[in-house]
Amino acid sequence: MTASLYGAVLLAALAAGAAYADEDADLVVNGEIEMTVRAPAPDHVEGLSEIMSGWLFRSDETQAVQMDDFDNPGMIFVDAGRETFNAEIGADGESCASCHEGPETLADVRPTYPKWDPERETVQTVEMQVNECVTERMNLPEWKYTGDDMVNMTALLASAARGKPVDVAIDGPAQSTWEQGKEMYYTRYGQLELSCANCHEDNYGNNIRADHLSQGQINGFPTYRLKNAKLNAVQSRFKGCIRDTRAETFSPGSAEFVALELYVASRGNGLSVEGPSVRN
């Protein structure tokens, strides 16, 4: 009796949680960082008129957790990233801080990556750029693409850029990579034959079973998910979404996911960098 009563109450609460996602809310973090959570869609995004942060699609409770750094569990990982940044871990005792005064001096990184690197003649993600410094400038073995050191460092670099507008370049030498990512976005992968667009462009705002679909924007990454109680890298999320279409997924760090990340990032040009954000 009590058990089933409890179950019913819990379900009602969960259902209410989904229903009360406040898509008209405004996001101000710590009472001072004003985030742009909705903006006119950039011209290169044909399927949307307005772009919206994933924060808007979360329940009131989840939204609130991201509004104060004392509540946001993602900030713990930012602190861990800061420690690594200052630690003399290089083969010759270098730290990131030996060459980069502080994370604030790297505040333009998160909003503009993935970005064309003229020397390597390829589009680099933040992770690839960090690994370039780790391996070539500190002579360390490379960090695992979605490992703790890397995700914590990307959280630190995102937090240094919070509130700045995403502004990745899609033209010039990055264009063919961007086109590749765009093609992937509209490809119906797997045995369920679902594209990113089927869920995140055609159906944002709708529920799919228990999940309230957002636009699948990446301005909030890395994201702290209440579901797995850890910080999640953007390409881990891509991997999960493709796997859920009963498809063979791609690996984090693969050329395909770099292209997809550039394209998805560009769909959020104009939204604020929010990482580390909080999601369910």
Binding site: G190, Q191, L192, N206, N207, R209, K239, R243, R246, E248
Partner: protein, 160 residues
Amino acid sequence: MKFIVCSLGLLGVAAAGTAFAQPVLPSEVAFDEYGAVSASLTGKAGDAASGEVVVVERGQGNCLACHRITALDEFPFHGEVGPPLDGAGSRWSEAELRGLVADAKMTFEGTIMPSFYKNSGYVRPGDGYTGDAAKGELEPILGAQDVENVVAFLMTLKDE
């Protein structure tokens, strides 16, 4: 009753005997120009109660992911990606529902609804939900009898 008459009629035209022994292969399902499939995939009547399970279970049809079905309100979380299925058994014939469940793309071109009785033509098919590449020949998402059972369940969804 109607079912038996109907499949017997068809058997008169198609090669009799084999249809009862072996389910129709996914590649050999006969869709008409509107996407309907008149013949049972197994020659065996569908069971609505088993069909309900397929409709609800996440690892099977998971139709509730996208559709609201008031008769299944006891199960939580009905999706909104597709239209509610209330009254589907009044709106559609059994043959039309069989076509919709087997491969809805034959009825609604390009629809988001997955094709449940198909085993080729995919981009990077996986080994279930593991994220790895599919091994060997692909199985359709639902077996032939599952499809028949789901159709039988849908036929119970009549207008009030």
